[in-house]
């Protein structure tokens, strides 16, 4: 029996993985270069307690970078996709909270920028896109788990 031709779908998942990975690798490297700026951006959200802001600012960029790298490697793509999904939800929650509170700030997602509510809305939409892409990759990966011996 010939297996069904899923090559188109596989290529689509691969393309989404690469796109999401590129975004996270870029964002991670950019934040690693200037953790102080990212710490200030994090503090502007007034969500993370001051004691944890610097730890967050130091830990998140390598985490984003790792997510991107894991997404590129097929054996680790599943965990990478789930990590991206989790972190996208976190970003979305933080941005939505800031917008609801009427804050105008630079989220620090991709380097330094001027505070702008329009840009915040765009980044909110980007979070939705990243979450959707990550979930697509994750669900696709988890339904095609490799066989293992019992």
């Amino acid at each position: 029996m010939m297996p069904p031709d899923n090559s188109g779908r596989n290529y689509a998942v691969l393309a989404v993985s690469i796109a999401v990975a590129a975004v996270f690798i870029y964002a991670g490297i950019d934040k690693i270069r200037d953790p102080l700026q990212f710490a200030d951006s994090t503090a502007a959200f007034a969500i993370v307690p001051a004691v944890f802001i610097n730890l967050f600012a130091l830990g998140l960029p390598p985490f984003e970078l790792a997510c991107g790298v894991l997404l590129l490697a097929p054996p680790t793509r599943r965990v990478g996709a789930l990590a991206v999904a989790v972190i996208s939800v976190m970003f979305f929650t933080a941005l939505a909270s800031a917008l609801l509170r009427g804050l105008t700030l630079d989220c620090g997602c991709f380097g330094v920028g001027a505070p702008s509510r329009q840009r915040m809305w765009l980044e909110l939409a980007l979070d939705v896109a990243l979450f959707s892409g990550a979930m697509l990759v994750y669900l696709r990966s988890i339904t095609r788990l490799p066989a293992q011996a019992p």
Binding site: I32, V51, V79, A147
Partner: protein, 313 residues
């Protein structure tokens, strides 16, 4: 047909439907019989008389949602109708239950195309226990993946701390606000800064424009140098809040020469408060005529005012 005591037929190694070993599988689709556990290769359909019907990946339709939903399956290009597929667990999509009966053993042994499904048959295809994982729930796998994400987060934090330790300007473990950092910078300029001062006066766009055009005031840009280089008010000097102490030392001659002139500080505008911090610092450093252009660069550029680019210090 109950989930237990479902009869399974083991294929021979050669794939011929010669034996009818009976074994049992649990309600979770896991093969209990050691014989079947040891059975070999690949996925196979043990639907009485179809025991050699080896199935490959992708045998079942992709969208398999409702347990017990009758589905038309295909194998090797032929349709097997009236077969129920049980979604026993996430990885056991390959478990199927034949409902249609087979008429006679002769029909069973005939060519695959002519085998009619006419007599009662109880069960069928199992997973190959040597290739597929034991039945595990989707939730359990997600929990495991989340644990992996948590470990990744811990490892990333450790990596971030190591990178920070090796950097030229490491962050302290506890966050300091820009004001706190600014105060710390000021202590490098004056021994005991009395930073309790009245807020600086403010000026509007019209007054600011007049001061710029007449060059009657010293204009200071409190934004980071990156933004200053991209565009600033003509004649302005960059006294960035981020690098205040360093910039102040660079500009000390210009600042001392302008002690008799008013100083106007601006930043990005809107909710930025770098200009206020810098203005207050200048007041605390002995400059008396310092004010803030609250509209900042946003108001200046929005009004179509001229701009200069490049680094000027």
């Amino acid at each position: 047909m109950g989930p237990r005591s479902q009869r399974l037929h083991r294929p021979s190694p050669a794939g011929e439907p010669t034996r009818r070993d009976t074994c049992y599988k649990s309600s979770r689709g896991q093969v209990r019989s050691p014989e079947i556990r040891a059975a070999s290769p690949g996925l196979f359909c043990a639907c009485s008389g179809w025991t050699n019907h080896t199935l490959g990946p992708g045998f079942f339709p992709k969208r398999l949602s409702t347990p017990d939903a009758p589905m038309a399956l295909r194998s090797r290009g032929r349709s097997i109708k009236s077969v129920d597929v049980f979604l026993l667990s996430h990885w056991d999509l390959r478990v199927a239950i034949c409902k249609q009966p087979i008429s006679s053993p002769a029909a069973v042994s005939g060519p695959a195309q002519s085998r009619p499904l006419t007599s009662a048959v109880s069960s069928i295809a199992i997973q190959d226990p040597t290739r597929l994982p034991q039945a595990r729930s989707l939730a359990w796998q997600i929990v495991r993946d989340l644990a992996g994400v948590a470990m990744l987060a811990i490892a990333s934090l450790a990596a971030g701390l190591v990178i920070n330790r090796g950097s030229l300007h490491p962050l302290p473990i506890v966050y300091q606000t820009p004001e706190q950092r600014f105060d710390a910078e000021l202590t490098t300029l004056v021994a005991a800064p009395p930073f309790k001062i009245a807020p600086a006066a403010t000026v509007g766009l019209h007054e600011f424009r007049s001061a710029v055009e007449s060059k009657s005031a010293l204009i200071l840009d409190a934004r980071p140098s990156l933004f200053f280089e991209q565009g600033h008010v003509p004649g302005a000097l960059n006294l960035a809040r981020d690098d205040f102490a360093q910039d102040y030392r660079h500009l000390s001659l210009s600042l001392k020469a302008a002690t008799d002139k008013p100083i106007i500080v601006y930043c990005a505008g809107g909710e930025c408060h770098d200009s206020r911090l810098v203005a207050n610092a200048l007041l605390s450093l002995g400059f008396s005529n310092v004010s803030v252009f609250t509209g900042g660069w946003d108001a200046w550029s929005a009004a179509g005012m001229p701009a200069s680019t490049g680094s000027v210090r």
